[in-house]
């Protein structure tokens, strides 16, 4: 799985690409944890624009990051899910625990505003 990452202030933006299934979930988990530690970021924004498929393994990886980041008092948000991906997220009740923005830009703006 391809995974693009960028640090914006104290927010780490990660942009996975392709299919977020069991194989990809393992890479995602490892790379995001490493980057959170290395960058010193407090918050995490997962931009899903380029995710074409997600199943419960992918969701599990997102939820795992959520637990770690919120344990350290950070916030996690999602952005840009396609209708198909959004249906899976909703069925799992994810929008009840983290914010789901339409676009990465909008998410960044709000997260930065809340953080300041």
């Amino acid at each position: 799985m391809l995974l693009d990452m960028e640090l914006k202030g104290n927010i780490l933006v990660v942009r996975p690409e392709g299919e977020l299934d069991l194989t990809a979930a393992e890479t995602f988990r490892k790379k995001v944890d490493e980057a959170m530690a290395a960058s010193g970021a407090l918050h995490l924004l997962i931009a899903l624009e380029k995710v074409e498929f997600i199943d419960s393994s992918g969701l599990g990886a997102i939820l795992g990051r959520y637990k770690q980041v919120t344990d350290r008092k950070g916030r996690v948000a999602l952005a840009g899910a396609s209708p198909a991906v959004r249906r899976v997220l909703e069925l799992a009740g994810l929008p009840r625990i983290m914010k789901l923005y339409r676009e990465e830009k909008e998410a960044l703006r709000e997260m930065a505003a809340e953080a300041s």
């Binding site: 299919e19 069991l22 194989t23 498929f53 199943d55 419960s56 599990g60 069925l91």
Partner: protein
Amino acid sequence: MKKRLNWVKFQFAARPENIALARVAAASFASQLDWNLADLDEIKVAVSEAVSNAIIHGYDRNPEGVVELEMSLLEGEVLEFIVRDSGKGIPDVKQAMEPAFSTLPDSMGLGFTFMQSFMDELEVESSPGRGTTVTMRKKFPAEAGV
């Protein structure tokens, strides 16, 4: 028993890399019927869950395990997907199928919930020490909306 109009069956090593292959094969097989994209996506999720479970739970990720996926087009425009493993089996199937139940600490326990939501029928047969068979059916055209 409904008549089987077409079928494809495959076996593969219990490796995570092969889950993607099972999904594309399922979507390709399903394309015999004129599903819309949302339905195809639901089929992919359900098959992905069943195959992932066989690998993670059935075989505890031992790649020597063999997973079988059998897909049939039945009379009356019904697609059937059967996922079989000869792994460790499920002691209490009813409990396993409950939403949020999982025997792994980091798992969400939503695999069966997704299979149930995205297919019309779900049957699970399992015997501890011998393996698990998950049968899912979806009727074309899909009923509207989740």
